[in-house]
Amino acid sequence: LAKTTQPISMDSYEGQEVNITCSHNNIATNDYITWYQQFPSQGPRFIIQGYKTKVTNEVASLFIPADRKSSTLSLPRVSLSDTAVYYCLVGSFSSGSARQLTFGSGTQLTVLP
């Protein structure tokens, strides 16, 4: 079972780049790394997913080193509306098997004006 560790909180200013790191030392070969954003009273919302190296989409980048024991979510030019809790999720599932999915404890990102 992959245990994940994240910083509890981070502060940033509007327009800055924010990097949030998640440690997952026990990640398994088939596990993927997914990051979610959660606002109060809402369910988590998908941001980005990766297996290894770097993945980029329209809102974020995800960096995964070769040993896959950590990952870093990068949010370019944050705005006030990016204030939320960010979670990394490690795990996988398929038609033939199910693997317990482990969320980190979450990082509260506060973007200041």
Binding site: G43, A98, Q100, T102
Partner: protein, 117 residues
């Protein structure tokens, strides 16, 4: 299109009562998940369905918790003889993924906040 919906959004139960929480996944999504989220914590996995088959229930905290998805669409999480420690937000998620080669992205509902008094 419609996302994942959950009902009720809020539920207050007296200790010892049974509760049933409903999840309507996105139409056509094969996989369905239940998570428990305590205040200030990350979601914790409870159970996983693929269609009507419950492939993993290792996260269910006790035999008071029971989940079903009889027709492979709507799912119900039932908690019998509720205790105060069951107070949490219960999240449901669905995914179109059924096998190798596609994203593990999960789509979450808004959750049901259960308070046991």
């Amino acid at each position: 299109g419609a996302g994942v919906s959950q009902s009720p959004r809020y539920k207050v139960a007296k200790r010892g009562q049974d509760v049933a929480l409903r999840c309507d996944p996105i139409s056509g999504h094969v996989s369905l998940f239940w998570y428990q989220q305590a205040l200030g914590q990350g979601p914790e996995f409870l159970t996983y369905f693929q269609n009507e088959a419950q492939l993993d229930k290792s996260g269910l905290p006790s035999d008071r918790f029971f989940a079903e998805r009889p027709e492979g669409s709507v799912s119900t999480l039932k908690i019998q003889r509720t205790q105060q420690e069951d107070s949490a937000v219960y999240l449901c998620a669905s995914s179109p993924r059924s096998g190798g080669g596609s994203s593990y992205e999960q789509y979450f509902g808004p959750g049901t906040r259960l308070t046991v008094t």
